[in-house]
């Protein structure tokens, strides 16, 4: 059975939804492991600062909590109920996509609880009120440049998650990352000096977050594989 992983970032409990996703996924022969990260909820005080979402804390804890965990798809709730009034500092789903997206580039991004035209409308309305072009640009950039695959309504985002996961074909990068994460804690010792001393899990993170370094590493691996194959062949 095909295995897929997804993460739901929401300020409310999503256990019911995760259960549905798993159950429906199984019907389609997909084993979906779905986790949640409750940014903005009152019981995750470790993610808050004086009641407001602390984005740096969120990123740090994300890295810690999900180190070595590959996510095929990350679903972001757009409306995180951040109390922050300052729009530049207010954290929304777009903010998280932007920051988490940097470290999980290859994961499919889904925004729910808002449709694209609603999002754009919000950005424009906000701009009309505040005349803050910088924020407006930043938000639009988030929409454009963070690999958002789709938008979903809250009423059916679970089925959207399943659909997207079903459609995702594993590629070589996924396979490498999967394997690296499988041996998450093993330390890399040779063949690529740049990564010497790093765990496979760390390397997997780098490969996902830094395309250039990741590609260099992949090239090195391929060279190594080819040369091994040649060697084997010769032998």
């Amino acid at each position: 059975m095909e295995k897929k992983t997804c993460l739901i970032i929401d300020d409310t409990d999503q256990s019911d939804i995760r259960e549905r996703i798993r159950a429906n996924g199984l019907k389609l022969n997909i084993d979906i492991e779905c986790r949640e990260f409750n940014v903005g909820s009152q019981w995750r005080t470790d993610l808050l600062n004086d009641g407001n979402i602390d984005i740096e804390k969120v990123i740090q804890i994300f890295k810690e909590e999900f180190n070595g965990v590959k996510f095929d798809l990350i679903a972001f709730d757009y409306d995180l109920e951040d109390k922050e009034q300052d729009l530049e500092r207010k954290v929304t789903g777009l903010t998280l996509i932007s920051r988490i997206g940097e470290i999980r580039k290859r994961s499919i991004k889904l925004i729910y609880s808002a449709m694209l035209n609603d999002l754009l409308q919000d950005i424009f309305e906000e701009y009309k009120k505040t005349q803050n072009l910088r924020t407006a640009k930043s938000r639009i950039k988030s929409l454009l440049f963070n690999g958002i695959r789709d938008f979903a309504d809250r009423s059916d985002y679970d089925s959207k998650i399943i659909t997207l996961l079903q459609a995702k074909e594993p590629n070589i990068d996924d396979l490498i990352e999967e394997k690296m994460r499988e041996y998450n804690s093993m330390t890399f010792l040779s063949i690529y000096p740049a990564f010497k001393g790093m765990t496979f899990g760390n390397i997997a993170d780098i490969m996902e977050s830094d395309i250039i370094r990741g590609n260099k590493f992949k090239r090195e691996i391929i060279d190594q594989i080819i040369s091994n194959m040649v060697e084997i062949n010769e032998k």
Partner: protein, 824 residues
């Protein structure tokens, strides 16, 4: 005492001769008039040796080469007695005794006309013959009478010889053939040089000399100019430019084309004035009124207004331009009184008036006409110099140009008003020069005339201003007749036009589907036409007395048709407006419906924040309900579910269902913010407000609430929906425990903590739970007849808010159960 007498100094000849008659043409005219009075059927005015002569050499006797003017007639002639007793008798005029001779009114009567000969030349030979008598000859050398400073020389002292001569001598001397009777005046050594132009000028005067209508009734009178020296010059000239030839009478009885004119006459007995106005040759009205001019009678006036076409026709018919012809001539007893009416003469002051109002008054350039006076009583006295008539009382009554107007102006002003106000100058569409070319081409007829204004509106206006034009006092009017044909024609034209207009409108209505604007436009046109018709009918009614009833009925029928059509159009307009209004309404409703439908498909841009929040919350609750039901369903089906899980999921479903109900109850509150599932709120204030409106929401009077806040507060981000449900559940439990009183005590144990004590005076919890209070919060456990879900959900919801709940027991505050809720 000595007897004395008037004496007549010889110089009197000049006084009454060449010095009195200053105009050569007048002099010739006087001599021609004498011939006329002598019953001559013709008179020849002959010019000899005008161009080349021996005048400078002649001192005593004229020769055959001396310049001559010969006036030759075939009148009754004179004999010796006539010559000596009448002709030579200064100031004697037989004509004074006989105002009419030979069926003609006599022209001259002063007895000084003969002295015109002195004006014309230095010598005079009179040859005259009566029937069956001899020729008589008198020669006068006028110089003999031109003796200055001899007071003793009387005119009688100059003797003259008159002879009888034989016919053959007559022929030999004069060079003319014998005649049975008549007079030949040979005026020699002309005092003035007669050029072709001068003779032509004489011709013009002779053309207008006699009014044939007035002067004689049966007999003709021909005048002929003979000037052999100018025969060559006459070749290739137009008739009216020729010197030689018979004078054609230029006094028109009637112009041979349609004009606008007015004619008026004072009766012979002077009692009435009859005036007829004609327009383009058709009589408009005839007015008979009392004559207030007591000194005037037997006078006729005719004045013609020449519009552009008429001027061209006039010129074509007469050979001269109307401005060159002159304006209003005066005739007394058939003979014109020069210079009245000559080109440039303004004896009636018409040009002075014109200068005061170019567009209001007619001037000499626009009219031609004549005044004919039959003066049997010698009222109008010709000035001896023949330059007009004496400005006496009758003349003033005739010509006065200011109010009260003289007879001429009384009549003339009617024509003037008609032209100015009635026919608006009757202007042609094209300029005179262009029309002249067209008219002079073959094939032209008056039916081709084109005017700026159409006939119908022109004629209607005439009708409307007729009374103003006439301007006669009612007590003076004896009879006024408006031409019935004129009125009838107008009516027919109007009826035809109105019918056409109505038909056009009908065609518009019938041929196509009209919208409201088109109907309104047609209605406006129709109203305008109806008003025109009504105005016409109103004007028309003044003159309708004598018209046949059938014609009158035609008009009222037409008016009725217009009114009927107007009514129909008004109804149609109203109906179309209604339809348009309904269509508009339907369109608007459709638009609204579309908008409503569109509303559902568009983004939530136009949805209020409250509605957005409402949708958001409903989605969350519904999603949660759905998910749990799906899972429950599947697990029950697969047999893979335990009772506890069933209860748990059912409690979640119930809680969310209650939340949805709560949303519908709270949505109407103006301070209910549903923007967010969670929001920061002061828990204490919320409880106070929620309890305060509890009876509004639940419509119950059975519970009494007491809240003690102790000035506490705690701000917490939570779902107020959930908080509402928590208190709903607690209150519901109190009701089920038959409580009538609830007491809520709140205080802050620390700055960021809150303790709420919820007590009632109900029956409390069962004893069996006294040691195991926590059991109450388990699913399925209930102390009332409830489902056992409520407290479990309460605890779960509080946990998510960062709070907790525990049962303290019975009788802690009030008689019943007391719950403690803590927020940290």
């Amino acid at each position: 005492m000595a007897k004395v007498h008037f004496r007549t100094n010889v110089q009197i000849k000049s006084i009454i001769g060449k010095d009195l008659i200053t105009d050569d043409n007048v002099a010739v005219l006087e001599l021609v008039k004498n011939s006329f009075d002598a019953n001559s059927k013709k008179v020849e005015v002959i010019f000899e040796n005008i161009v080349q002569n021996d005048d400078d050499e002649i001192i005593m006797i004229p020769s055959s080469n001396t310049s001559k003017i010969i006036i030759k007639d075939t009148g009754i002639g004179m004999d010796l007695i006539d010559i000596s007793d009448k002709w030579l008798n200064i100031a004697y005029s037989e004509k004074k005794e006989h105002s009419e001779n030979f069926g003609r009114l006599v022209a001259g009567n002063k007895g000084v006309g003969r002295f015109s000969c002195d004006k014309l030349g230095e010598y005079l030979d009179i040859y005259s013959k009566k029937k069956d008598a001899n020729y008589v000859h008198l020669f006068i050398d006028w110089k003999k009478f031109e003796v200055d400073n001899d007071k003793y020389l009387d005119i009688e002292d100059i003797s003259l010889n008159v002879d009888e001569i034989s016919p053959s001598d007559f022929e030999n001397v004069t060079g003319f053939e014998n005649f049975e009777h008549g007079t030949l005046l040979k005026i020699s050594k002309c005092r003035e040089i007669w050029t072709a132009r001068k003779i032509l000028s004489l011709k013009r005067q002779l053309e207008k000399l006699i009014n044939p209508n007035q002067a004689f009734r049966q007999n003709n009178f021909d005048i002929e100019i003979k000037a052999s020296e100018f025969i060559k010059e006459d070749i290739n000239k137009a008739e009216y430019e020729k010197i030689n030839g018979k004078i054609k009478n230029k006094i028109f009885e009637k112009l041979n084309f349609r004009t606008t004119s007015i004619s008026s006459s004072i009766s012979k007995n002077g009692e009435t004035i009859t005036t007829i106005l004609q327009d383009r040759g058709r009589e408009i009205f005839k007015l008979i009124e009392k004559n207030k001019f007591n000194l005037l009678k037997d006078i006729y006036i005719a004045v013609y207004y020449l519009n552009t076409y008429s001027k061209i026709y006039f010129s074509k018919q007469t050979g001269i331009r109307s401005v060159d012809f002159g304006s209003i001539s005066l005739f007394i007893n058939g003979f014109r009184i020069p210079p009245y009416g000559d080109e440039g003469d303004d004896w009636l002051g018409l040009e002075i008036r014109k200068g005061q109002g170019n567009k209001r008054y007619l001037g000499t350039r626009e009219i031609v006409g004549r005044i004919e006076i039959t003066d049997n009583n010698d009222q109008f006295k010709i000035i001896s110099s023949r330059t007009g008539i004496v400005n006496n009382a009758p003349f003033l009554q005739l010509t006065k140009s200011s109010s009260p107007f003289g007879y001429f102006y009384k009549i003339f002003r009617r024509l003037e008003r008609f032209v100015v106000e009635g026919i608006k100058w009757d202007s042609a569409k094209e300029k005179e020069t262009v029309l002249e070319e067209k008219i002079n081409k073959a094939g032209w007829s008056s039916s081709k005339e084109e005017y700026i204004e159409n006939d119908l509106s022109r004629n209607k206006r005439i009708l409307s201003v007729i009374n103003k034009i006439i301007d006669a006092r009612k007590d003076e009017v004896i009879e006024l007749v408006i031409n019935e044909d004129f009125i009838s024609d107008i009516l027919d034209e109007q009826a035809k036009k109105s019918k056409e207009e109505l038909n056009n409108i009908l065609a518009e209505i019938e041929n196509k589907e009209l919208n409201v604007e088109e109907v309104t436009s047609l209605l406006t046109i129709l109203k305008s036409k109806t008003n025109d018709l009504d105005d016409f009918a109103s004007t028309f009614s003044e003159f309708s007395e004598n018209l046949p009833k059938a014609q009158l009925n035609k008009l009222s029928t037409l008016q009725q048709s217009f009114i009927t059509k107007q009514s129909e159009l008004i109804i149609l307009e109203s109906k179309l407006r209604e339809v348009e209004q309904r269509e508009k309404q339907a369109k608007e409703e459709l638009e609204l419906e579309r908008e409503k439908n569109t509303y559902f498909r568009t983004s939530s841009r136009t949805i209020s924040e409250d509605a957005k929040g409402l949708i958001h919350n409903i989605k969350i609750t519904a999603k949660t309900i759905n998910s749990n039901i799906d899972t429950l369903y599947e697990k029950i089906l697969s047999g893979q579910i335990k009772e506890k899980e069933i209860l748990t999921r059912l409690s979640v479903i119930k809680f969310n269902a209650e939340k949805a109900i709560k949303i519908s109850q709270l949505i109407t509150r103006s301070n209910f913010k549903t923007q967010a599932d969670k929001q920061y709120c002061d828990i204490v204030k919320f409880i106070e407000q929620y309890i305060a409106l509890y009876s509004d929401i639940y419509d119950t009077n059975s519970l009494h609430f007491e809240i003690n806040t102790n000035s506490s507060s705690l701000e917490r981000k939570l779902s107020i929906l959930d908080l509402s449900l928590i208190f709903d559940d607690l209150i519901s439990n109190s009701e089920k425990a038959k409580a009538t009183q609830i007491q809520i005590d709140i205080h802050n144990p620390s700055k960021n903590a809150l303790k709420i004590m919820f007590s009632d005076n109900g029956i409390g919890v069962e004893k069996k739970f006294e040691q195991k209070f926590d059991q109450l919060f388990e699913l399925g456990v209930t102390t009332t007849d409830g489902s056992g879900i409520g407290l479990h959900s309460v605890r779960k919801a509080l946990k998510e808010m960062g709070g907790n709940i525990q049962l303290l027991g019975n009788g802690k505050k009030l008689r019943g159960a007391t719950f403690e809720i803590n927020f940290q």
